[in-house]
């Protein structure tokens, strides 16, 4: 309500000013756009009509609303702008299609754990190499100076030096504003605190992460944890699984050389240690005495075989992590050497921390590994697969011979059809933890705790490293104009997004913001970003940049 009245006031002032200046016919005040005495035909061309592609309200209400807001702000500035909600699949098709036919859009990047490494958010989505149709740089941002730094951080194997580069990259992005981050969502989740304790909450992943299964302890004789999901998981084959939740479970069945610690530092896990011999050579020493669930020992041959299998089978999901590998050799009984094509800084945090170790004695006999259903998955991780019932549940039990035994006897990953079903099951005590972010109304319901119904639940809040943003096609007018983009950053009501649409559960955005605060190690706190909603200032920036308004009040591009 407040916003609307604000707008009305603004509109009234505008109309009054317009009338005043047409009456006077004198443009003495150069910050006011209307009264310009330049004839229309001498002005630049009209700012083209703009369409903001966005989400359907049921898919993402905030993006839907924000996109309408921004379109309205632009209309007030004399630009024909409209918001066009569309299905997510269709939106992706437009953004990644060959035609690249779009002006601007709202979408988001989810905060998956490997994105804590800055490579994805710095290089993949901003480097000009990826600015062609199908690439992840859907803003078509091209800046040679930035490219250089993005490349350099990828090659820099020294973490502190790399951090400097990543900071510098963030400075350039904040200045150039290739996109405008609107908000990040907080990960609101919950678990049953009367039955279990010692959960770990990780940015971007929430409660059902890589570590909670290790740390969680039962408080009663209920020793099997039931985790609720409202999304389906696909299959148990690490070479073909393409669902996020499939992977969140697979990484507990299969072990990995390195795991990212709860504070997001790489920690030697199935590896005893690693050694960066030089920029393109990494030696990994395997931990001794590990066995697979079927009792066979885990050897360096298994490790070499697994990595090569992933490379040979062209596993799409990991493609970008594996292409830097040139060759893998076994140097002695417990050491594997990775030779890289070129230095690749995320090698430890992404490649070593993602690729699972498969038992060679099983997989070498399988003819078509990608098509294999792997119903009795055998790994060397902390949990053994008991049963996978498509669309219903995944049942896992504790692997007693694991070097770091877990405290629960196993867990069940139960699949529900709707979040409402999960909430009922939580209330009844049938499930003990959620694996996804609660919908806002459920967060509120649990927080209000009417009649003490949710006394046994603990609400947890985690920061997300992902973000939702307004993307702009920099190949098109007016977004090719940096000042226009900066002005745009002043048209987004960041507080409205956070306080009203997200009920305060989240974080504010800003122009060019890419690595959000939640990613503490890599976020550059000293970069000034355009993060205030100030349409007045937007207008000033446009005037300074040479944008003009014609006799009909329509915005025109600067004269070239």
């Amino acid at each position: 309500m407040k916003r609307i009245s604000q707008k009305k006031v603004w509109l009234a002032v505008m109309i009054a000013a317009l009338m005043l200046f047409t009456a006077c016919g004198d443009g003495s005040d150069d910050t006011e756009p209307t009264g310009s005495d330049i004839p229309d035909e001498e002005m630049g061309e009209l700012v083209p009509d703009l369409t903001f592609l966005s989400s359907l309200p049921e898919a993402n209400m905030v993006n839907y609303e924000m996109s309408q807001e921004v379109a309205e702000e632009l209309q007030l500035l004399g630009v024909n702008a409209e918001s066009q909600p569309m299905d997510f699949a269709v939106l992706l098709d437009v953004l990644y299609g060959d035609d690249s036919d779009y002006d601007a859009y709202t979408i988001g990047w989810s905060g998956r754990i490997e994105r804590l490494d800055p490579d994805m958010f710095i290089h993949s989505i901003n480097h000009s190499d990826n600015a062609n149709p199908g690439g992840n740089n859907t803003n078509r941002y091209r800046n040679p100076e930035f490219d250089e730094i993005a490349d350099a951080q990828r090659r820099e194997m020294d973490i502190d030096a790399r951090r400097e580069l990543v900071f510098e990259a963030q400075r350039i992005l904040a200045e150039d504003v290739p996109k405008i981050t609107m908000y990040s969502r907080a990960n609101m989740q919950t678990y049953n605190k009367e039955l279990f304790e010692d959960v770990i909450n990780i940015p971007g992943e929430g409660l059902f992460n890589e570590w909670t299964p290790f740390s969680i302890k039962p408080l009663t004789d209920e020793t099997v944890l039931t985790v609720a999901s409202n999304v389906n998981i696909d299959d148990m084959n690490p070479l073909s699984s393409i669902s996020v939740y499939g992977w969140r479970n697979l990484r507990l069945i299969y072990d990995k050389l390195v795991r990212l610690s709860p504070t997001i530092e790489p920690e030697a896990w199935a590896a005893e240690s690693w050694d960066v011999v030089d920029d393109t050579t990494i030696d990994v020493v395997l931990r001794q005495g590990m066995t697979f669930h079927d009792g066979e020992p885990v050897t360096v041959e298994d490790v070499k075989f697994s990595y090569e299998l992933f490379i040979d089978e062209n596993v799409e999901y990991f493609g970008s992590f594996l292409t830097p590998i040139d060759s893998i050799e076994i140097t002695d009984d417990d050491t594997i050497r990775f030779n890289l094509v070129e230095p690749y800084a995320p090698f430890i945090t992404n490649t070593l921390a993602q690729i699972p170790i498969l038992p060679m004695h099983i997989w070498e006999n399988i003819e078509n590994p990608v098509q294999y259903t792997n119903e009795d998955a055998i790994g060397s991780g902390p949990f053994k697969l008991e049963r996978f019932q498509t669309g219903e549940e995944l049942v896992l039990s504790k692997f007693d011979d694991y070097f770091e035994p877990v405290h629960i006897d196993g867990y069940i990953f139960q699949i529900f059809a709707s979040p409402e079903g999960v909430l009922t099951a939580l209330e009844l005590g049938n499930v003990h933890m959620v694996s996804y972010d609660l919908v806002p109304s459920h967060t509120e319901q649990i927080e209000n705790n009417d009649g003490g119904r949710y006394d046994h639940l603990e609400l947890t809040e985690g920061d997300d490293i992902g973000f939702f943003y307004i993307g702009m096609n920099l190949d098109r007018k007016p977004f090719d104009n940096k000042q226009f983009r900066i002005a745009m950053a002043h048209l987004v009501d960041y507080d409205l997004a956070l306080d009203v649409h997200l009920n305060g559960y989240g974080a504010r955005g800003g122009g060019g913001l890419t690595i959000v605060e939640a990613n503490e190690f890599w976020h550059n706190p000293d970069v000034p970003i355009y993060d205030t909603y100030d349409p007045e200032r937007a207008r000033e920036i446009l005037v300074e940049a040479g944008f003009t308004w014609d006799s009909e009040g329509r915005m025109r591009m600067p004269v070239e």
Binding site: A89, S320, R387, G391
Partner: protein, 323 residues
């Protein structure tokens, strides 16, 4: 008779090919492609291309169609993109869950419907009759998901008589059919959704039965039976109801055919792992083989049950003959 049957069967096959073709092209004209659902769009373009090749979507539409139709001739729907398993396997698993739920609901609905309908016709004009009609219509018009939610609230949350969702208690059950379906735990989970679905379906057989009973009751032989002094109940069920059953049979046969698709909303409310839910997600995920398989099987079932209903007529009503 046999001739007629074979002719119908042949037409049915033609129809299935036609429907399959329509389904095939319908899905491919849908905007978006299956790679959009691979975790998220961050995979590089080359990887998307690889994925399309793996799914067999890289060739021309015509080539894809040829593969599809030859596979179909061997009753092979292809591998589900998402599950990485033959689509037919997934369909079988889900179909069992859906059919058990729907048939239980049907038995409930048709038993209540047939007896209730007959009784209501007999007591025409009474207050109880209008009460019966009102109740059955209320359940017919109320959204099933809402009724489902209310039932869960009452019987699961407040009274804790029945489990709130799913097909079994988490972590129990196993791989075999018996382990999955032939146990008390499953039965406990089945009752609530089956009753909700049954209440929803009940109005159809009940009102059909009532109307057709009213017609039958004006026949001379009912009068005759009365005149003989036969007991009321005897006339109702032995003489009238049997003859009034015919239209209900048709409705029932068609119901079985259509029920394969399940009650999507109910499956969602009760987290019932049935085919209905699977179809919806398969379509949104652009899992063509799975979605195509589901729709082809549904249309085949509807056609087949239509045929069965027509054949049953000949047996139930001697006036109908297909020669």
């Amino acid at each position: 008779m046999l001739n007629y049957f074979l002719k119908r069967l042949f037409v049915m096959l033609l129809m299935i090919v036609l429907v399959s073709t329509m389904i095939f092209f319908l899905f491919r004209t849908m905007p978006g492609d299956p790679t959009a659902f691979v975790v998220d769009p961050s995979i590089p373009p080359e990887a998307r291309q690889q994925l399309l090749e793996r799914y067999g979507l890289d060739g021309s539409l015509w080539d894809q169609y040829k593969v599809f139709i030859t596979d179909l001739a061997r009753l092979d729907f292809g591998d589900s993109f998402f599950y990485n398993r033959p689509a037919i396997e997934i369909i079988q698993e889900k179909l069992a869950a859906t059919l058990i739920l729907m048939l239980t609901a049907m038995v409930f609905a048709y038993t209540m419907g047939i007896f209730g309908g007959a009784w209501m016709a007999w007591r025409r004009g009474s207050r109880l009759e209008s009460l019966g009609i009102t109740i059955s219509l209320i359940f017919r018009s109320a959204p099933t998901f809402w009724v489902g939610l209310m039932m869960i609230l009452l019987f699961s949350v407040r009274l804790a008589w029945f489990p709130a969702q799913g097909m079994r208690t988490a972590g129990t059950g196993g791989g075999t059919f018996a382990e999955m379906f032939l146990n008390l735990d499953f039965l406990r989970h089945l009752i609530l959704p089956a009753i909700v679905a049954g209440m929803y379906f009940m109005a159809t057989p009940m009102l059909i039965m009532r109307n057709s009973m009213l017609e039958v009751m004006s026949e001379d032989y009912i009068e005759m039976a009365r005149a003989k002094g036969t007991k009321e109940r005897h006339i109702l069920y032995r003489h009238a109801a049997r003859n009034a059953l015919l239209p209900v049979v048709t409705a029932g046969a068609l119901f079985i055919g259509a029920s394969i698709g399940g009650q999507v909303l109910l499956e969602v409310v009760f987290s019932w792992p049935g085919l209905g839910r699977e179809i919806v997600t398969a379509v949104t995920r652009h899992d063509y083989p799975l979605a195509q398989g589901c729709f082809i099987i549904i249309s085949a079932m509807v056609m087949f049950m239509n045929l069965i209903a027509d054949m049953l007529y000949a047996f139930l009503d001697p006036r109908i003959s297909y020669n």
